[in-house]
């Protein structure tokens, strides 16, 4: 096993690739470059650049939406093996595909608020939705899509919530920054004017 060090030449990329394949296969969660580098350095240090290059080669070997049953995707700041989307019909016959991602509209709205505004507190969620969101939040915590990320300073010290790695995996994102900008969901000018008029915001008297 000692030849697995930084000096034994051409053989290394093959062994390195094999170790990385095994790690990503076994982990069941995204692994980042740092974690992978530490794990493959079991018989001597391997530098990050080599690991990154080998990962790029593996990405090409297991391309997203390629012809294989699984793919190596960049998700949540790391790399993750997952099945390819084209295999869904076969998987659906054996597994409860997408069951854990089935969320009520209330839970989905709450999740959107947490995703965009994190860290965010319960009262802030309720403020935006106009209704108490505790039961929706409970579902999200339960499914490990949302977690406590800290407490606000000062009196009251409200618990703050943010999204999890599982959220990023479930929605195929590298980080919350990959969400489409919230401005994209702005109501059109025409609708806004209509809304203003109907709310009586336009002073009609002369």
């Amino acid at each position: 096993m000692t030849e697995h060090s930084g000096i034994s030449g051409a053989d290394i990329p093959g062994r390195l690739a094999r170790d990385l394949e095994a790690l990503l296969f076994a982990a069941g969660r995204p692994l980042d470059l740092e974690t992978l580098t530490a794990a493959v350095s079991h018989a001597g240090p391997v530098d990050r650049v080599t690991v990154a290059e080998t990962l790029a080669a593996l990405e090409a070997r297991y391309p997203v939406d390629g012809k294989m049953g699984f793919e190596l995707a960049r998700v949540a700041g790391g790399w993750l093996f997952r099945t390819t989307a084209a295999c869904e019909p076969a998987l659906a016959r054996l597994f409860d595909v997408g069951e854990e991602l089935r969320l009520s509209p209330a839970a989905m709205e709450t999740l959107a608020i947490v995703a965009y505004l994190q860290p965010v507190s319960r009262p802030e969620m309720a403020e935006i939705r106009g209704v108490n969101s505790d039961s929706a939040l409970h579902t999200l915590l339960d499914r490990d899509l949302v977690r406590e990320v800290g407490r606000r300073d000062g009196p009251g010290a409200a618990v703050l919530y943010g999204t999890t790695t599982r959220f990023l995996v479930a929605f195929d994102m590298d980080s919350p920054a990959s969400l489409p900008p919230i401005e994209e969901f702005e109501v059109g000018e025409q609708q806004k004017e209509e809304l203003k008029r109907r709310l009586g915001l336009v002073v009609s008297q002369g």
Binding site: F25, A26, G28, R29, L80, F81, R82, T83, T84, A85, C87, E88, P89, L91, A92, F95, V97, G98, L101, L103, P105, A106, M108, E109, L111, A112, I113, A115, Y116, I128, R129, G130, V131, N132, R151, P155, G156, A157, V169, A170, F171, D172, M173, L179, P180, I182, E184, F185, E186, V187, Q191, K192, E194, L195, K196, R198, L199, G200, L201, V203
Partner: protein, 249 residues
């Protein structure tokens, strides 16, 4: 009055309902038919055998939020001048809240699409549990501050508020009980003053009594008279008895 086809289960809150009423149904906020919304709900409630208390509570919250929103817009300013500006500001805040809510509703729809795309992309469970390698006593000695424990427990003591459930208790029996109370008063006396009977109650009890009254008006069970806006309401038994009404409908 227009007949709206409202499936209340579909709405995620007062903003959602208001947005739909105002834009899709093209109702001005002055005309938002709260009685009709209540009626639609009561009809749905009658059809279900078991009372869904949680749903009822949520509905009451939704309706009271709507009432609050509507009253904010409808309430006139004291006189001309600065108070009027205040009313405009309130309306503007309402508009901003509606728009903010709408943005996140659309964002949720977009997340929903992203979710659908991921359906079927499965991740396997880890092949084994991680084993935590504990550090030696020497490595962890004095690594934590005892004051951190004190701060944590103080925070728990300070932030813990036993939830005040008294209003919930009132709400939970509210609508039906107030309907029964109004019916009882009418049977006993034929007519009564809303102010005299409910004026001294908690605001929440007043609100629920008003909702009960609106429901009874909508059914044609009672008639009301009000001399002035925001004045006292005189309530009396409607001429047609309820049994006959049920028979025709």
């Amino acid at each position: 009055m227009r007949v709206l086809d409202l499936d209340l289960d579909v709405y995620q809150g007062p903003f959602d309902l208001l947005f739909t009423l105002v834009l899709r149904e093209e109702v001005d906020i002055f005309e938002v038919p709260i009685v009709e919304v209540i009626l639609a709900y009561v009809e749905a409630l009658v059809e279900t055998e078991a009372v869904d208390w949680e749903g009822l509570t949520e509905f009451l919250v939704l309706i009271s939020s709507l009432l609050e929103l509507k009253s904010r817009v409808l309430l006139p300013g004291e006189e001309l001048g600065s108070e009027d500006v205040g009313a405009e500001v309130t309306k503007d805040i309402l508009l901003q809240r509606l728009l903010t809510y709408r943005r996140f509703k659309m964002a949720a729809a977009s997340l929903n699409d992203a979710r659908d795309q991921q359906r079927g992309r499965l991740v396997r469970a880890p092949t084994r549990e991680a084993r935590r390698l504990l550090r030696t006593d020497e490595e962890i000695r004095a690594s934590q501050l005892p004051a951190g424990l004190r701060d944590a427990i103080r925070r728990l003591v300070e932030t813990r508020r036993v939830p005040d459930t008294s209003h919930v208790a009132v709400l939970r029996v509210g609508l039906n009980r107030q309907i029964a109370a109004i019916r009882h008063l009418l049977r006993e006396r034929g007519r009564f003053s809303f102010e005299e009977e409910f004026g001294a109650e908690e605001p929440m009890v007043q609100a629920v009594s008003l909702l009960a009254l609106l429901g009874l008006i909508a059914r044609g069970d009672v008639k009301v008279a009000q001399a002035a806006h925001f004045g006292d309401i005189t309530v009396q038994q409607a001429v047609a008895p309820r049994v006959a009404l049920a028979g025709t409908g």
